[in-house]
Amino acid sequence: MQKKSKARKSMVSSLMPSLGSLAKRGLAGWLVIIGIVLVTAIVVVTMISPWIRPHDPSTILVGQPLVAPNSQFPFGTNDLGQDVFSRALSGGGIMLQVSILSVAICLLIGVPLGLFSSYAGGIIDRIFCLIMDSIYAFPGLVLAIAVAAMLGRGVTNMAISIAVVYVPSYFRVIRSQVLSIKEMPYVEAANSIGAKTRTVLSRYILPNVVPSIVVIATVNFADAILTAAGLTFIGLGVPVDIPDWGWDLTNGRRLLTSGAWWVITFPGIMIILLALGFTLIGEGLSELLNPRLEQ
């Protein structure tokens, strides 16, 4: 038992090198650091926003409607007289929930499916591949729209409709990795001493695909955030009066002709920073784990 937890610990530490050692790995290391800092900062700000925001983000008419940024309202107010600054601080909640949930669903479905399909091989593998390739080839957002339109609104439904689109990416990556790992001598050795399929998959193969899973999950976070924003923009968002960047952008579209740039600019920048954070982590990690080109 102790041995197992130790092994796990070393696996985690090899994956999550300390920030200091990352800084010594050149540009890729810095990308990961900047990404982690961005994401952490946004998550923390969203969580502690009830204590640091100057106004309640949902209260209307805390100021005059459509006030341009000034000393009292640093990001201005929207058409309902709500404080854009407070809304920018608190508006990440729904997007974070949706993206975490959808990445979790993708992991729970895509990873086992990829492992199973590639290890089973034969006709089962063929069928799964064909289905996954078809979903993968489909315009993601259009598919998510169709699923979301049928399931109705809500955080869980939104997460499911995003997950449907991205499960194939996990499946494909896992599958191609397993196909090469399956041929390794140590897997053959495990098979020849009579290890069960489950043991081989979980103890010999899974640990070797974990790095790829981490990379694809971080990139997928960014995709999930952007897809969630897109779904909200076309009216399939979560219908609550919780402040949400996606909703603010949607609302701001009507106000564009009035020249009220601040209503969309700040929530938009927040979405970019969050998506950018995850993209940077994914970008850096994939370069660190696959340094072929940079040599």
Binding site: I131, A137, F138, A149, M150, A229, F233, I234, I271, L280
Partner: protein
Amino acid sequence: MTLRSYVISRIILTIPMIFILLTMVFVVIRILPGDPVLLHFEKAENLAAMEEMRHRLGLDKPIWVQYFEYVAGIFRGDLGESMQDYSPVAQQIWSAFPATMELAIFSMVVAVAVGIFFGVESSKAYNKPQDHMIRIFGIVAYAIPVFFLGMILQITLGVGLHLLPTGLRFNPTLSTPTGISIGNVHFSTGLYTVDSLLEGNIYKFVETLRYLFLPSLTLGLVLSGVFIRLTRSNMLETLRLDFVTAARARGLSENKVTYSYALRNAFLPVLTMMGLQFATLLGGAVLTETTFSWPGLGRYIVDRIGFRDYTAIQGAVVLFGIFVSVVSLVVDLLYAYLDPRIRL
């Protein structure tokens, strides 16, 4: 394998792909939890009207009969009837299709042009500040919600500077370009750029481009990141090859070496990527069309979501899928034509 047998086998492979796609859409709209008719009426109050709609749209038949009729209908070009007014969905979709097509073509041109230019410049300045700047631009482009970029361009170039129109596909004070009539035959593509030229009306052509500019720029820029990265990494590999060194040794200018020697080799992956990114492009088109009130397929889907018109949504989604399959087929064939190794 000859080019001809490759073409035939590739076309045959597309058929199961389209079947799975049709089935997938059917499963999403008809079988997933959520009854389209109930969703359309929102509340189960007027049961008689609901029953009538079910009957009229054939939704009261056994599910496999529905599936068969649906697939057979698509092969006849019938995408079902709208829940809103029982009008044929296919007609509405066909009239929206050219707008999406035109936007897609021009956005792809922007994405590839920006991607190749910055990709090549980035590889030339490998590991210099210029290279880093371009790479950061590529990453940021990936992280921007396309509709946010669209709104920023609208508010700066459109509302602020009055340079460009911020919405619609054509100047509402002019009649839309209609193509050309020769004798009794009328030629029209539905693409305003082509139709205005067929009409021989340069003013309309310029107007069309003015309206196309912001939406294509928006969608193209968001997509350009992928092409920058791809061009850069391919160029880095190509620039190390002997024939590039040889070309340099012969005293050719650096621009000539990179753009007409090395880029030619790096272009095939770009072509493949164009096919792969086409699906992403269409997804982005839905949001871009909504931002710019562009009357295409994406706008159509979004409008129909507002009406809770699920048969129309289904039809449009199917057409999106078929569109992507056909484009990927064309790209593969083009690739085989350009690169004989594929056919081996």
